[in-house]
Each structure stands twice: as C-alpha cells, then as structure tokens.
C-alpha cells in the first residue's frame, strides 16, 4: 500500500519495476545504509547519504528526463531473434525469454520521442537488467533507427548507455552493430544535428567503442565504470593491480575523454541547456 502511494507520488503515470529487490527498504551498495524505497525514488535513485547512483531501469529514466506525459515509445515492434541458434549453458532463446519476463521489455534499449523542457528530443535508453544491456541486432537496429530519425527530422538525439558491450550470443552480427550505429552517426554529423551521449554505470566494450564515445558532447554519471576492456581482463593481461578510480567517470574526465560528470539530479537541466545551445 505504502509502496503504491510513493510510486504514485513520484509520477502519476504507470511506473515499471525498479532494479533493486522489491521491499520497503533498500541497502546502498556503496555505503550500506538502508533507505526507505520512497525516499530513494524521490531522490532519483541516488543514495542521499553517499551519492551512490543506483542503476535505473530504462523506463524510469525516461520518466526522469521527459516532461510529464509527453513521450511516446518508438520501434516497439522489434523482437530479438536467435540467428545463430546459440547455446551455451542455456539456449539464447531461453535467456531472451527470461530477460523479457524479468524486465517486461523486448530487448535492452527503449527508443522514445518527447519533450525535454518543451524541446523535442529523441532518446535511446539502455536497460542494464536486460542481459547486461548487451548490444545485439535489435539494440543496434533501434539505435540506428533513432539516429536516422534524428537526422531526418532534425531533432537532437540523446543516448543513455548502460551496457557490458556486444552480445556474444549473436556473434559477429553483434559486432557489426558497432559499425552500423557509428556509420549512422555520420548522417547526423552531416545534417548538423546534436548528439549527446550519456554514459552510465557501466558502459563497456562494443557499446563504449562505438556510438557511446561519438557524442558531440559526452556526459557521465558520477563514478560510472566506463572503458573498452573490463578491469579483470586488463589485470590478467598486464598482471598488475589497477590504480584506484581507474576507468571511473572522474578518471575519464581527468584524461580528457569526456566533457563532464553530471549528477543525476542535474542531468535533465544539463541536457536541456545543451540542446538549447547547440540546436
């Protein structure tokens, strides 16, 4: 009952599930403090004590960014397919089904169009709960369609990434999505339409090494893990302990790889300002 009350209070519209286990109390992964779910939700899933940014399901993220009641989902018809008939410890088809049931999504990205502070924007948003936000053919296709749409309609494009990288179960087809999405960005460039890339925890591998790092402006959420190779792979390769803070947003900012680190509460305003200034 209480849960329902708080959810309603946050947004009048229908809300999807949060990533953390349901229950009234949620433990912060970073500082271990217990928070009342409603308190955390009204704080945009950021720990009020230590500032830890909890992962956010794609739909919740869209509600945080778009003006209330202004967005519609696009490309909802796209269904992932098991082209390679891939079976590891479980068949890919079964993994897909489980991910779909868990998240209520068809794949790891939602495309949407709506208003951000009254300005038209197109957003593609990853949902890390869906097979680690991995990019297979549907994710690649959706990103590409949103980019092409942005170029066509001359509407700024925003991508919010949260992904472990390319989806192994679609093999080489996943890899090629890196080229496909990046090639599409050439169209945006040609038309002079802004593309803002928002990197959230984590943005790695094939997503990082394609459209995510091609934003005209690149923003990262605090302390997000961002990089090409995973820390464990690097450690195994060079047989060295990695420096503290390595591959975190603040490290990337210091090395000139991103434009800014923006807290979640300021993200909408920052995006709005950038869209205003670059359009």
């Amino acid at each position: 009952m209480l849960k329902k009350f708080f959810r309603k209070k946050l947004d009048g519209e229908q809300k999807p599930q949060s990533p953390v286990p349901t229950g009234l109390w949620i433990k912060c992964e970073n500082c271990k403090a217990l928070h009342f779910r409603g308190e955390l939700e009204s704080n945009l899933m950021v720990c009020p004590r230590c500032g830890y940014h909890f992962p956010v399901p794609a739909k919740d993220r869209l509600y945080m960014l778009f003006d209330k009641g202004t967005f519609e989902e696009l490309d909802i018809d796209l269904e992932p397919q098991d082209i390679l008939e891939f079976v590891d410890r479980k068949p890919y088809s079964q993994r897909l089904k489980e991910a779909q049931e868990k998240t209520g999504l068809k794949d790891a990205v939602i495309n949407a169009k709506g208003k951000l502070d009254g300005k038209d924007v197109l957003i593609s948003c990853f949902d890390f709960r869906f097979m680690g936000g991995s990019m297979g053919s549907v994710v690649g296709e959706k990103i590409t369609r949103n980019i092409e749409r942005a170029a066509e309609e001359r509407i700024p494009f925003i991508c919010i990434s949260a992904s472990g990288g390319a989806r192994m179960q679609e093999g080489i087809i996943s890899l090629m999505q890196m080229a496909k999405t990046s090639a599409a960005l050439a169209l945006l460039e040609e038309r002079g339409v802004p593309y803002i890339s928002v990197l959230t925890h984590p943005t790695m591998g094939g997503v990082s090494a394609s459209f995510a790092f091609l934003g005209d402006v690149i923003i990262a959420e605090p302390k997000a893990l961002i990089g090409f190779a995973g820390p464990r792979v690097i450690e195994q390769t060079i047989r060295q302990k990695l420096p503290k803070g390595f591959q975190r947003s603040e490290f990337l900012l210091e090395h000139g790889l991103i434009d800014m680190v923006v807290e979640r509460k300021d993200l909408k305003n920052t995006l709005s300002q950038l869209v205003e200034l670059l359009s």
């Binding site: 496909k180 090494a209 060079i238 090395h255």
Partner: protein, 310 residues
C-alpha cells in the same frame, strides 16, 4: 623452425612414412605411386573436414603469412608512414602507400611479429589508440589523394591495458568506425588471420570484406567466450562452434563478400599460392569498386552495414 599442431602432426607422420618407403627404393614405383595417391586423398579428406577449432589454430599459426609478408611479396614500392600526430607511433599497425598490381594504393595492416623480440615490439598485434589514429590519418591521406585503401586484419584484439584506456581506446575505435564509413575511396579489407572483435573492425569498415579460407572473425575470442558464458576454459571448442567464426559461416551469414582459397594444408605451408590467390581476389574486388563514384562508394558501404541484423 616449423611449428606443428596436433592435426598437422598426424599428416606429417604419414608423409614421413611414404618418403621413407620411397627412399628405400625396394618397392615397385607403381606401388609407391598407389600409396602416394591414397595419401593425397587422405589429406584432402582430412583438410576438408577441419573443425572450427582446427581453423582457429591455423588462423593463429605462427608460420602463417603476416601483413609484412604480404607487403613484401604482393605489393611493390612500399613506403611506411609513422605516427598519429597526437601522441605516438603504434607498432601493431603498419600503414603506408605502395603499388598493388601497378596501382598506387594505401595499405594498412595489423602485424603480430614473428620472433619473440618482434612480437613484443609489435605488442603481439594488439593495437593501441595510437595505432588506430595513425591508421585513420593515413586513410584520410588516401582519401585526399584519391587512392584506394587495402587493409589487412590480423589481431587478437585491441590492447587491454592501462595506457590504452587512458589514451581513449574506445574513442579511437569508435572514431575509425565513423570515419571509415565516410571515406570517399574504395576500401577492401581482408582478414588474413585473426579478426579479433572491435580491434579488427576498427580497420575493416570496407566496401568489400574478404577472408582467407582459414581466417576467423569473431565478436570475442573463443577463450573469452568460454570464460564468460561457460565459466570454463575447457569449453573453448564449444564456444568456437557456437560463435560461427569461420569464413564459411560468415559468408553464409552475409557478413563477408568472398573467401580467398588457401592451399590445401593452409597458407603457412605455401606462401606462393596464398599470395597469388590474394592478389587475384583483391584485384577483382578493387576492379568492381573502381567504377563507382565517391558518393556511390559511401552509399554502398553504408547499405552493406545497414542491412546487417534485423
């Protein structure tokens, strides 16, 4: 020194036996010829039924022709260019201009190195951001001077290291993907050995993508895939099969445009034939592209990648 893998050892044992028989001179030449014929049939059968994992071994074979061998034997008048003009000069990618069948071209390829010293110097063919940025710089020169680009792919993957991350490995790869999509000159890429994930893709956004028969091209190494999805290195063969990384698989999936045949026992056993086949196929691919306008080239390349997936 020749390196022999399990499957090669079997064949070599047989071959030695036959040679022994011949040298003894005791047998009727007709009988020896008969045995020789049987042997030939057997190795044909054997090499016709290589498993994907066998092909991974051939693709990584230390004696396999490398980028340097192609540059020295298939191209002429090669001039190497160095440096990314930002930070350094990657050694895992060789870039420059040369003549290919008399035509001035840009040639770019990943080089793993042959002996231990060279392997270390070449970072085992694992490029750094500096490598990718140098490659892009030289490709842009090719565009400026309207020269076709030929790239040779042979890498375990982009280097996973502290410096690579600090210098923007992701950005360097991503930038190449975008910029290669825009190139107004023909691009032909050939996977000559190992096509290791994004590290390979970053120099192979091509109008025509070819693979040597025993080359592999994959989103992740079989070892990496086994470790992550099976959580066991013992499952590397299963991972190899599942990934569909052989040239035949990739042709069937519509990812590549053609297969360059290799000599029966693999490119490493007969460089001459390999180079001849390479030249013939790349020349044909180039020929088909040279008639296209810059706009048509960009469009053809875009559509080629655009249709991959759903």
């Amino acid at each position: 020194m020749q390196t022999l893998f399990e499957f090669e050892k079997k064949v070599d044992k047989l071959r030695k036996k036959i040679e022994e028989l011949k040298s003894m001179g005791k047998f009727d030449p007709v009988v020896v010829e008969e045995i020789e014929k049987k042997f030939q049939k057997k190795i044909k059968e054997f090499y016709g039924n290589l498993s994907p994992w066998d092909r991974v071994q051939i693709a990584r074979h230390p004696d396999r022709p490398h980028t340097i061998d192609y540059i020295n034997n298939v191209f002429t008048d090669f001039i190497e260019l160095h440096g990314d003009r930002h930070y350094g000069d990657g050694k895992a990618i060789i870039a420059g201009f040369a003549k290919f069948s008399g035509i001035p071209v840009c040639v770019i390829g990943q080089e793993k190195g042959r002996d231990t010293k060279e392997k270390i110097a070449r970072n085992f063919g694992m490029p750094l951001p500096e490598d990718y940025r140098k490659a892009l710089r030289v490709m842009k020169l090719a565009e400026k001077f309207r020269k076709p680009i030929i790239t040779l792919v042979d890498t375990p993957g982009a280097f996973p290291g502290i410096e690579a991350e600090e210098h923007g490995q992701s950005e360097a790869i991503a930038r190449n993907l975008l910029e290669m999509a825009k190139l107004k000159v023909p691009v032909v890429s050939v996977v000559i050995g190992e096509g290791g994930s994004g590290g390979a893709l970053a120099i192979s956004v091509a109008n025509k993508l070819l693979m040597l028969e025993n080359a592999i091209y994959s989103v992740i190494s079989p070892e990496g895939c086994a470790a992550i999805l099976w959580q066991s290195q013992d499952k590397v063969k299963e991972a190899t099969e599942a990934l569909k990384l052989t040239s035949r698989d990739l042709l069937k999936l519509g990812i590549i445009d053609g297969i360059i045949p290799e000599p029966l026992e693999g490119a490493h056993r007969d460089y001459e034939t390999t180079f001849k086949n390479f030249k013939e196929h790349v020349l044909r691919a180039l020929d088909e592209l040279l008639g296209l306008t810059p706009e048509e080239l960009v469009k053809q390349r875009y559509e080629k990648f655009r249709k991959i997936g759903v």
